[in-house]
Symmetry: C2
Subunit: 416 residues, 2 copies
């Protein structure tokens, strides 16, 4: 938690990964992020992984509570017109102090419908809305189906296996979420300059297509006429791969820059052998990373022997001492014991969550200096802030709020 966005109010009506991570990043930089959900939970409220089932309950979503940290929660009945109207008023509500710092809405609700930009802008023409979409034309698409369409699963995995390999990490969702947070801030900067509201649509399909072009994949295929072939764990265009130590550990080695290449050769004792190979081929690997890639089949046996000659403990000590860029393939259990990732990482703090479990939980993934890190906040219970939000954001009286509860149009944390 930091205070950079103190005083900003953002309303989130979204599910799954992209919209919720956008809201999470904003909340952890200090914005007041108010998430509305269907009473009883939206489509992501029971998403796996779940907490273990116990006699007292369990079965709560670790995913939901991970993605909604530091937000406020209001529960509405979005199936009825009156509940939908409350959502519309929330999405369009101006900020507190003069209104300039509110009227920001993050959603993955459809372009047309009760949360359309036209509907909301009629309530507040200064509204900034960032809308995450699947396909840009509005058709059904999620990370894994769009990833398949982009061609990556056919480029992923061992060369001796033609089956497509899906990614496990929903990379397009995550990139879309972070880009959406950026886009919201960009529209806010324009509004602070005196411009009006805007809608920014961020479709996963465009994020994917643009990114594959930004990285050169698209132009490469246009010039070669062929997709990039599958190449297992080989780094494309430079030198990198996993190698196996004498005791069977796999380590990922990367040599992209001349410095990384020189250091790896030195630490592995390969400088002379590689110089011989260079002399034979009439090339300089140090000067051209592409040559390391082109001739990798000649280089690999040298590296395989060097890795196989030592146990991981001795080898990794030498690689570290030599400033080599390498990484062990760890299981998530090992990762949790890795002091640089989790165990001694100041980004993490043990927090008690709505599920009742306490576990190490990250704050903002950037470190803002010289500001001190503030406490990591857990996700809310569903509906925990219903009354507070209705009173403070929509200005409802306690009598009005009571009538909404009686009509079951809203619910608090106890579900009533």
């Amino acid at each position: 938690m930091y205070d950079l966005l103190k005083g900003l109010r953002v309303v989130e009506g979204s599910a799954f990964v992209a919209g919720p991570t956008c809201g999470l990043y904003l909340a952890q930089m200090g914005a007041e992020v108010i998430r509305f959900d269907q009473i009883g939970g939206g489509p992501d409220f029971r998403r796996w992984p779940l907490t273990p089932r116990t006699e007292e309950g369990g079965g709560d979503s670790l995913y939901w509570e991970g993605l909604n940290k530091g937000k406020k929660s209001i529960a509405l009945d979005l199936s009825r017109p009156e509940g939908r109207e409350l959502a519309q008023r929330l999405a369009a509500a101006p900020g507190g102090a003069g209104g300039a710092d509110g009227a920001m809405f993050v959603t993955n609700f459809p372009v047309e419908g009760f949360l359309s930009y036209a509907t909301l802008a009629a309530l507040n023409r200064d509204l900034i809305c960032v809308r995450v979409m699947g396909w840009a034309d509005g058709s059904q698409g999620m990370d894994y189906t769009i990833n398949a369409a982009l061609g990556l699963p056919l480029m992923t995995g061992p060369t001796d296996d033609a089956r497509p390999v899906n990614h496990v990490l929903a990379a397009w969702d995550l990139l879309t979420g972070a880009y959406s947070a950026f886009a919201l801030m960009a529209a806010l900067v324009a509004r602070l300059r005196g411009e009006g509201g805007r809608e920014i649509r961020v479709p996963l399909s465009d994020v994917g297509a643009a990114t594959m072009a930004n990285l050169g994949f698209a132009a490469e295929t246009l010039t070669t006429g062929a997709p990039r072939p599958r190449m297992g764990n080989d780094l494309y265009g430079a030198f990198g791969r996993d190698f196996t130590t004498r005791d069977g550990q796999r380590l990922m080695l990367l040599c992209v820059t001349p410095r990384q290449w020189a250091k790896a050769l030195e630490a592995l004792g390969l400088t002379a052998a590689v110089a011989d190979l260079e002399a034979g081929l009439g090339v300089s690997f140090a000067a051209d990373e592409g040559l390391r890639f082109t001739h990798r089949a000649r280089l690999y046996p040298l590296f395989e022997r060097a890795f196989a000659a030592k146990d991981a403990a001795a080898l990794t000590a030498a690689l570290d001492a030599g400033g080599v860029t390498w990484g062990a393939y760890q299981t998530m259990v090992e990762a949790l014991e890795d002091r640089r990732l989790y165990k001694d990482n100041p980004l993490f703090e043990v927090v008690r969550h709505p599920s009742g479990l306490s576990y190490p939980t990250p704050g903002a993934m950037g470190a803002v200096l010289p500001d001190a890190r503030q406490a990591v906040r857990p996700a809310p219970r569903l509906g925990q802030h219903t009354d507070e939000v209705l009173a403070q954001v929509l200005g409802l009286t306690s009598g009005e709020i009571g009538r909404l509860h009686d009509a079951r149009l809203v619910a608090g944390a106890d579900g009533r």
Copy 2:
């Protein structure tokens, strides 16, 4: 190109993916992004893929020109103190109109060294610096080594193969880049509110560790004591996998929400068969996505038969008509012919690049409404804006600029 960030000036001193994508997103939303590079190009200037070699030349980086679209380029000799001083002055330079809109610097140069925050803040205490890092402790790490440490390659790929599978898409780099653009904007919003400059450090290792926690992977392993097992292309916690049609096409099917599940059963003619299975098991798959996952081995044969009964053309027409969430596994060649991704996508425009090639090129990956999309701008030639930047940003006279050229401390697009 949009104008949301018109009037902002950001200096970029970075290489590879994270820093350059941060600058790209800013440039395509209208900021003036000035990238400085070593004369002759930095470590990413020859990164593959390259343009085809021809008699006239070729061998230019499609990667570099993809990642640096719409930026200005100044080439400096960063190996000498005078060149380094120019980089420092650029990074810290205030904006044009009163200075409030400049002094933003994006870099992956080391924390300590000639571009340290302390050094730059001594020139301008309002400076906002976003610093992309590998490991948070400053040690060598790049996307593929940190990804290995996080445990994902051991969770990826077919269940009948224990080898780790690296991702092909540098997801951590990309997420770090977009988050960095957000973080820069957040610090700008604070500065516009009257606060001073800041440094925000965004290490790939923290982005990775936090994201694996945000998504519930870390808490899951803490509660189960085991890493999530490898499960091929199965979607975790709901229903989704690739299935093969009669004519051998693989299609990815996703059923996360109750609606997606119902529509898939209907389009595939499986409603009755699944109801029988539910009756036998005493469960309702519609009500609980986790049960679809738990019992997926019982469900898969039904879906396999339904997919194998039809050719892809007939099946995909039925899936589309039924509003099912599915995706074909396309090669990149097929993706380029996909009208929704590339062929008819208004995000793309044919642009002539520094390499001399013209090809479809994306603008900003979010659509800003109601603003009109402006022309997509190509990357600069290296050093194309050297003199302009020295004059306009550092206020040097043409005599001073000439002396810098003579001393080979700077170079223009012709390399001199």
